[in-house]
Amino acid sequence: MVTMEDYTSNYENQWCPGCGNFGILPAMKMAFVAQKLAPHELLLVSGIGQAGKTPHFLECNFIHALHGRALAVASGAKLANHNLNVVVNSGDGDCYGEGGNHFIHAIRRNMDLTLLVHNNQIYGLTKGQASPTTDRNMLTSIQSHGVSNRPFHPLAVALSLGAGFVARGFAGQKEQLAELIQAAMNYKGFSLIDILQPCVTFNHLNTFAWYRERAVDITTLDHDVSDRQSAMQLALEWEERIPTGILYQHEEDDFTALNPWLQQGPMLQREYNANAINDYIAGLYRI
């Protein structure tokens, strides 16, 4: 029996009291336990930022990698062993800023892994600069006259790239989030959950109350989850209403299914065969 306690880390939690991440952490545990996944059957990969620290606060295998590069490291691990259960924890700066190129191409590559983006619309670890998702006109220590760049719309970008599982969660609704994480992990292919995560220290605009006023469960709306056009419209909604839940789901062959080199099983399990190499070399010397 796998329990929530199995995932309890003895490592000191370093997030600010009241941080939105405290909604995401239990939702992850709930999703893992519901799938009966033991900590040793799971690999977490993370980048840099407050989200990047997440694996330390859980008990499981992890590699807490470089800023922006979590998806690349996770993709490499899947190349080596596509049977691994891989969940990536990243943030809006980590994933949509520093790692933007990897975000685009990980979606195109469609490996079977789950990406959780803790999107607090601000740089927390570096103390409050604008992130790619910060709302326009917000004042920060660097954007001292207000943010002028247009915000990045992660779900719309993912949909435009053909992502097969696109969802939005909210740290203030952990039961729904746990279900989303479970559905994402069960999805065969690349799955994205962008998670609304209030930053209580640096983002005084997009607070718990601000998100709560706008978050609306997508299942209460008249939306067909297989309708990409409708999903795109919902993905771009923001000021008045922010739909949460699965916006789009579509089944198709993932990277492993499409890669002829991987059909005989994970690379990690393939035997080293010196005779085959020697035979090949001998062939090079034949007339």
């Binding site: 807490h64 190129n101 007339i287």
Partner: protein, 566 residues
């Protein structure tokens, strides 16, 4: 009489110089001739001036020659650009519309003959055939090789090329030019036709490499192309990443998950990978990276060669950590170096950088020695997890700095790693004592790593003067030493292949109190900088070539004579 001839074929990109070269090399191979071929090309897909140059000999050769016997001008500018390289009795093959040359010349309408044969593109086969005819090769042997390359006469391309071959032979037969009477007899056994790219890839496969990730960049792309071809025969997956940053982080992810993985890049791509090297280093994840050097900061000379990255490779990534830098000397050595690289990366859990260059990657030659899998080539199996999995610590302190490396999800023991400074169990830590202990743990690997290093390759090392060089220039410096000795100068060679950690003891006993010249393909003497810093030794003088072209034997000979007196 000893055979030592050089054929040079110049043309535009897209004229199929590679095919001419391949045909010449294969005929040489069948007839038991040694050869060494270089490709000189510009960074463009069509047009420009490029050449393929093959040196043919009846004894082993490891360097291109500077003097040309047969020159083929397919683009109308080859002769003008290379006339000064021609020997007195050289023969020039050129188009009928070209001006008379100062050398024996045969005008051949390559395009018209190729069109007659069925396709304009076969002009390269016409040219190759004419060269082979001038060298006295039998048509039958050439037909066999053409069939091997283009298929039988029943197939369209095969038939066209056989006709083109015949046309080339006829052009020479109908002329009154006297070529050379080399013996061309088909051999029963022969060597392998290999280039640096293919032996690097083959070495990786011999080491059980299972994953490749890369972003295309000259001149490293050929290595990964070769790896992809091997993926048809061996368990291997190769992924083209979105950029070099992704590529290096992918191979680190793959290695972390337990598979040997390879990336190859050059210049700017290597610069992008630098932070990733640090991640592998601090998470003590094995890493094997090939840097195929090309000259210049920024884009530089994308398709040319140099040795300008030695110190950069030695220091790439911030702060301090142990690493290996290996620089294979020859095409065959690439095969062994790659096996060693993987073995050392796994054994010491450190980055291993393999430094090659455009010259070595693109040089094809006949390798006579049988390539053998090294005894320790196979991947090192995962050690047994501890009986109590909860006691496992990925970065446990040990005497030699090496901690047992388990793979994630392969046992009950949890594998935790981070690019932050960390405690033995893999959690981030800013604790002062822990930081010092972790730096010391990683550096504790160095004494054993030093013991792994091969001494320099030596040739007449007791001589009055030593030439000191490294990496791919071995063949050229070796031949220069031979030529200098033939002129009566007592010159020897000490050539480094294991660059870092520096094999200090053998180098000290070789160089202390000796007169030596540094030979490098950069402008500031980077190996010299290292030797001065590490050993306190100083060369009498230096020979540098940094024009982006392969190191020239004649230049080494001439400059050595000038510097040490003849």
């Amino acid at each position: 009489m000893a055979v030592d001839m050089t054929v040079k074929i110049g043309g535009e990109a897209g004229q199929g110089l590679q095919t001419v070269g391949d045909l010449l090399c294969r005929v040489c191979r069948q007839a038991g001739y040694f050869f060494l071929a270089i490709n000189d090309y510009e960074s463009r897909v069509r047009g420009g001036h490029n050449f393929f140059q093959v040196r043919i000999s009846d004894s082993p050769i490891l360097a291109p020659a500077q003097e040309v016997d047969v020159l083929v001008d397919l683009d109308g500018v080859t002769y003008t650009q290379h006339a000064s390289e021609l020997k007195k009795d050289a023969i020039v093959l050129c188009r009928p519309d070209q001006d008379p040359t100062q050398h024996r010349t045969l005008h051949i309408d390559f395009t018209a003959l190729a069109k007659e044969a069925g396709n304009k593109a076969a002009q390269n086969t016409v040219a190759a055939a004419a060269c082979l005819a001038l060298l006295g090769a039998g048509e039958e042997l050439c037909q066999k090789v053409v069939q091997e390359l283009f298929g039988t006469e029943e197939e369209k391309i095969g038939a066209i090329n056989q006709k083109a071959l015949k046309a080339g032979f006829n052009s020479v037969a109908q002329s009154d030019l006297k070529g050379w009477d080399l013996t061309w007899e088909e051999q029963q056994t022969t060597g392998a036709l290999l280039d640096g790219a293919s032996t690097l890839a083959l070495g990786a496969v011999a080491a059980g490499c299972r994953v490749g990730a890369f972003y295309p960049m000259s001149p490293a792309t050929g290595i990964m192309t070769q790896l992809v071809q091997l993926a048809e025969h061996f368990p291997l997956v190769v992924e083209q990443a979105e950029d070099e940053i992704a590529a290096i982080n992918m191979v680190t992810g793959a290695n972390f998950a337990g598979c040997r993985a390879l990336t190859a890049t050059s210049g700017g791509g290597f610069s992008l990978m630098v932070e990733g090297i640090g991640l592998a280093a601090t998470t003590e994840t094995p890493l094997v990276l090939i840097n195929a050097q090309r000259p210049g900061p920024a884009t530089g000379l994308p398709t040319r060669t140099g040795q300008g990255d030695l110190l950069f490779t030695l220091h790439a990534a911030q702060d301090e950590f142990p690493r290996f830098v290996l620089a294979p000397a020859t095409v065959a050595d690439c095969f062994y170096t790659m096996q060693r690289a993987f073995h050392l990366a796994d054994t010491y859990q450190v980055p291993v950088m393999v430094l090659v260059d455009q010259y070595l990657v693109n040089t094809s030659m006949l390798v006579m020695e049988k390539l053998e899998i090294s005894p320790d080539a196979a991947p090192i199996p995962m050690p047994k997890p501890p009986a109590k999995p909860e006691t496992y610590a990925r970065f446990a302190f040990t005497e030699n700095g090496i901690s047992p490396r388990l793979f994630p999800c392969q046992s009950q023991a949890l594998v935790k790693a981070t690019g932050n400074e960390h405690t033995p169990d893999g959690h981030s830590s800013e604790n002062r004592e822990n930081r010092i202990a972790m730096v010391n743990k990683r550096l504790a690997k160095l004494p054993a790593m030093k013991q792994e290093q091969r001494p320099p390759l030596l040739h007449h090392e007791q001589a009055d003067w030593l030439l000191v060089s490294w990496g791919s220039s071995y063949g050229m410096v070796y031949e220069a030493v031979e030529k200098l000795r033939a002129q009566g100068l007592d010159v020897g060679l000490a050539h480094l292949v294991d660059i870092w950690p520096l094999p200090q003891e053998p180098l000290l006993s070789l160089l202390c109190g000796r007169k030596w010249l540094l030979v490098e393909q950069n402008a500031t003497g980077q190996l010299g900088w290292m030797l001065r810093a590490e050993l306190g030794v100083e060369p009498e003088d230096s020979i540098f070539q940094y024009d982006g072209r392969p190191l020239e034997v004649t230049r080494i000979v001439d400059e050595t004579v000038a510097k040490i007196g003849g």
